[in-house]
Amino acid sequence: MSDDRTDSRPIPVPPLPDAGPFRTGYFKSPLRGPWLSSLLSSALLPLIVICALTGFLSHAAYQPDLGENGLFDEGVDLYFFDWPTSPAWLYAATQGLHIITGLAAIPILLAKLWAVIPQLFERPAVRSAAHLFERLGLALLVSGALFVFATGVLNIQIYYPFGFSFVPAHYFGSFVFLAGLVLHVVSKVGVMRDAFRQQGVLAPLRDDLEHTEREPDLEGRRTAVPGNPAPATMTRRLLIGTVGAGSVGLAAMGTGQVVGGPLRNLAFLAPRGENAGDGPNDFMVNKSFEAVDIRMEEVGSSWRLALETDGKPGPMLSRDDLMGMELIEADLPIACVEGWSTTQRWSGIRLTELARMAGAEGAAEVEVRSLQKGGVLRKATLTRGQLEAPDSMLALKVNGVDLSLDHGFPARLIVPALPGVHNTKWVKKMVFKT
């Protein structure tokens, strides 16, 4: 099943010049061929599948069906379940995997594009209707892939040279990428099968330099095997080993940001590769107090937590009122969509206790609002399951001391397995809906 077969009705297209990269024999590396492309693809495909699935899971974890959690109109709803609260490290794990597999895929993707570049310049440009469709699909696949990887890599470094909003672009871009990928897999699975059957899956890795020659042709298929190759200066195992080392190195950096502790030093080129210090409030900040539009007096002694149920105002609680209540304690991670996380020991008031005080026992959802005036993530709406999870709390203290301003003093939300930014800081109001 492949348009690489040559027995089909030709399509009349203007001929390409026999010059430059279009010239037969322009590409000389003996390493290029269907086996190399197939091996790289078989490493790439599982990484992309995990990256895509965890990406869509992250979208679901934001619970975009509630309140204004959805940052954009998704066109269709792709979430079928409430995001769980157990295990508490669930979001750290899924989003960590998203970033780690994405980073690990980059060197393999680049190698793969290098391996197949001769086919961009193949002549004739179009051989059949199927070939035309396949090439259009490839344009979608490659531009979609580069777009999604580039925007993702820039986002985790908090650099936005593209101007458009990241979340919808990365989300919808992935549909273009994956749609192109499906067509590509359907087109090329036969090439992979034939190449592995003919040459073995790993056998070409055993060749030393003397035995590194061009790949054999695949009967009836056009491939990237050069017609007139230069002698090899690199074995296939060295090429694959180098790509693998790059991939493992980037994965290690991603892992360091997620796992933390001594492993965090692995992420020495990533923004969250440093341990912030030894103090109880010395851990990573996504958004500092200085960077938000909250005045000091708003978080001073006049601060009150306002509770509201179905439009009816409830009690206003000072921080002293809250500190006088029963505090629970739990070790919970903050896990950022950017692929870093940090676990701390929090203490605060159980959310169900606050619901009880607001007269909203068994509430269906709660919207938690920050003192922040701007920014789409200044509030978050929780599901009933998140509200009722035993460790969900309005935290007042961390690691035995008061929260610092950067970590959300006077009070912040901490919910197990909730995406980091939804753990609203500088909480002003909780609005329950029964």
């Binding site: 980073l103 570049i117 909003s165 749609a179 192109g180 359907v186 330099l209 080129l269 440093e274």
Partner: protein, 156 residues
């Protein structure tokens, strides 16, 4: 079936996959143009990333590789020692360049202006760290080459 294959160039499954691919892509593009605020920039980045990679980045790095091979192997294309030297340059260069490509916003301190104020992190440490990585890769590779070179000379 044979007729279909001849006219289309592949199986009906391929045609179905192609139509699904184009329909999903068209839908996603319509959605993204509506959602992001700057539709023209999205097109620029979609097409631009393709052009930048396929027609600029790849030819440049492949060209550098060919150039390095020409210089090092001039007149002695099958000299094992020289080929080894070439690879002991190429491998650290590929790894250092990949690290740069992925982390250049950190390395060149390009993150958003509010980065330091917002996160409390520094932007200045990364160029030094990347240079250190380069040093470790190239020096490490050179040391391994020096050890291997004895064996290669002995064989030759």
């Amino acid at each position: 079936m044979k007729r279909f294959r001849y006219e289309y160039g592949d199986s009906p499954v391929h045609l179905l996959a192609a139509l699904v691919c184009f329909a999903v892509s068209a839908w996603a593009l319509v959605q993204v143009f509506g959602a992001v605020g700057m539709p023209l920039n999205v097109v620029k980045w979609l097409v631009g990333s393709l052009v930048l990679h396929d027609l600029i980045l790849l030819p440049v790095y492949a060209g550098l590789g060919v150039l390095a091979a020409r210089v090092l192997l001039r007149g002695r294309p099958r000299d094992r020692l020289r080929i080894a030297a070439l690879n002991h340059l190429r491998v650290p260069a590929i790894l250092a360049a990949t690290a740069f490509l992925v982390w250049y916003p950190m390395i060149l301190a390009k993150s958003n202006p509010g980065f330091e104020r917002t996160t409390g992190l520094t932007k200045d440490a990364y160029l030094g760290r990347w240079l250190l990585l380069c040093a470790v890769l190239f020096v490490g590779s050179a040391v391994i080459f020096a050890i291997r070179a004895r064996g290669l000379r002995a064989k030759a």
